[in-house]
């Protein structure tokens, strides 16, 4: 079914117990973080998810790859309802969706070498040619194969983030979630990582959800943009439409607030 989106989300709700407001006796009130989101992520799309801090971007991302369980609604991945699958039932699906994290230091186990970090998920899923796949993943992200034997603390921030990317793509997933993956990096590493990501999306035909608060990055990379405000989608359209004809007032605010560099003078080339 080529028309079916890779991910279909309907009326997605997530609420967490708000422990700060918990009365002495009784239950903590629920904090509504995602308030009924519906959207599709088509195959091969690069969807930018933007919104202010605390708008629920990370919560949405972590729910999509089922690090969190939704309180309501449904998530379908490739037609399969994964909304309430438990870890054991999710395991076969895990290979098909991967995540790249914001903080590359905390997302790499400091006690494992690079080869172990990339190979871990491969072994877990019983893939063959593990060592060759590790080498290929390192090639893909432009790191020398000799880095296999390094520990994370022996790498720079940009190199660590590439290891995070290598770990994700080594699994040959269909969907990758990238949560603010360049916001912890210096400007030149940011540009390199973004270029790399752009190339990988093309070469590997990935479907990517790219969370960021930086609209200039989204404009460069994404085919679609979804704007989140306090747990609700206020805008969801093709990138060009969002930038040229923003519908929601909040989107216009975001566009005005962020100094947009001229995309033609690609400042990260």
């Amino acid at each position: 079914m080529p028309d079916e989106p890779l991910i279909r989300v309907e009326n997605l709700r997530v609420s967490l117990a708000d422990m700060t407001q918990k009365p002495l006796i009784g239950r903590a009130p629920r904090l509504e973080i995602l308030k009924g989101l519906s959207f599709d992520i088509p195959r091969g799309a690069v969807v930018g998810i933007v919104g202010g801090s605390g708008s629920g971007k990370s919560t949405l991302g972590r729910t999509l790859i089922r690090l969190l369980e939704p309180t309501g609604g449904t998530i379908r991945f490739d037609g399969r309802d994964i909304t309430h699958l438990d870890e054991a039932a999710l395991r076969p699906m895990r290979r098909r969706m991967q995540m790249i994290f914001q903080d590359p230091m905390s997302s790499l186990n400091p006690r494992r070498r690079v080869a172990g970090i990339i190979a871990g998920p491969l072994r877990l899923h019983g893939l063959d040619r593990v060592s060759a796949r590790v080498d290929e993943a390192l090639d893909h992200v432009g790191l020398p194969r000799a880095f296999r034997n390094r520990y994370p603390h022996e790498l720079s921030g940009g190199q660590r983030q590439r290891i995070g990317i290598a770990r994700a793509i080594a699994m040959a997933p269909e969907f990758i979630l990238a949560d603010e993956i360049v916001s912890g990096l210096d400007v030149s590493s940011q540009a390199q990582v973004l270029n790399l990501l752009e190339r990988l999306v093309k070469d590997l035909g990935l479907t990517l959800a790219f969370i960021s608060h930086d609209l200039s990055v989204i404009r460069r990379l994404c085919t679609r943009v979804m704007v989140l405000q306090q747990g609700e989608i206020v805008e969801n359209a093709a990138t060009a439409d969002v930038f040229d004809h923003p519908q929601a007032a909040y989107t216009r605010e975001l566009l005005d607030a962020i100094p947009l560099p001229d995309p033609d003078q690609a400042n990260w080339a």
Partner: protein, 292 residues
């Protein structure tokens, strides 16, 4: 895109730090190795029978005093028993208690702490409540009560130490496991589909191991002290088996006539306890590739 240069990494000062840590690790490790050897080889290396009494040669001074009798290097006590031999044999009891009680305490406490800190939820509430209740008991009273019930003996001492001190590991390791559990590498393992129990053992445990090792070493030192204290108040094993605590108790009585009976076991005890704590700290630093 600029290629990354393979040989070019951040310089790290680990070599320098390692050198500074070296001395502490070597000194404490050296002393502990010596005590361990003494304990293992006691029957072959102790110059005298530690229990042999000879009232004719009571309170002989150490070897450097001119008119002493040769063969009793650190002198004899009031019953004429060789102090060095008794210290060597006493190392056995000290180390058995240190290793058995330390390991058991560390294993039980760390396991509960890991489970509470990583799984959270009801497991954490249960374990944390238990720790709180446990710590409400005054430990010394608790120990004496336990030994009164169990009867004096090596086993009782070990059980008392484990029962009292597991909370130290549980608390510290729970907090560490909680910190580690919030790290993204744990989320990443979950994204990869690793089962929860395996995440705890394969991802989190290696990262809290340096802390466990440091606490374990400290705990071994504490066990040696506890054993000595209980021997001192005569709650340890039978009095004819030489223990450092027992020797200190006996030496205290005749300290004005024969100071060496008190001072040498005291030095052995002090150095051993100090070495355990220093060794643990040193190991923790060396264990850590990151050097937090």
């Amino acid at each position: 895109m600029p290629r990354s240069i393979p040989g070019c990494v951040m310089l790290d000062g680990r070599a320098a730090i390692r050198r500074r840590l070296g001395l502490r690790l070597w000194l404490s490790g050296g002393w502990l190795a010596l005590v361990l050897l003494a304990a293992l080889l006691a029957p072959w290396i102790s110059p005298q029978d530690p229990l042999a009494q000879d009232l004719m040669s009571g309170r002989l001074p150490p070897f450097w005093v001119p008119q002493t009798e040769p063969g009793f290097w650190l002198g004899t006590d009031s019953l004429g028993r060789d102090v060095l031999s008794r210290i060597i044999w006493g190392a056995r009891v000290a180390l058995i208690v240190a290793f058995v009680a330390g390991t058991l305490t560390a294993t039980i406490g760390s396991a509960l702490g890991l489970i509470a800190g990583y799984f959270r939820g009801w497991a954490d509430r249960l374990i944390s409540r238990l720790v709180d209740i446990w710590m409400a008991f005054p430990p010394v009273l608790f120990a004496i009560l336990l030994i009164a019930v169990l009867g004096p003996g090596l086993m009782s001492i070990i059980i008392a130490i484990v029962v009292i001190d597991w909370t130290r590991f549980a608390r510290v390791i729970r907090a560490e496991a909680m910190n580690q559990g919030a790290m993204d590498y744990v989320a990443s393992a979950q994204v990869a589909g690793m089962p929860r129990g395996r995440i705890m053992l394969a991802e989190i445990l290696p990262n809290v191991l340096p802390t466990i090792v440091a606490l374990l070493s400290l705990e071994m030192g504490i066990s040696v002290i506890v054993e000595a204290i209980l021997s001192f108040v005569n709650l340890s094993i039978s009095t004819d088996q030489p223990t450092w605590g027992g020797m200190i108790a006996e030496g205290r009585i005749s300290v004005h006539q024969a100071w060496w009976v008190l001072v040498f076991p005291l030095i052995a005890l002090f150095l051993t306890v100090l070495s355990f704590s220093q060794f643990g700290e040193g190991l923790k630093d060396r264990f850590d590739p990151v050097l937090r």
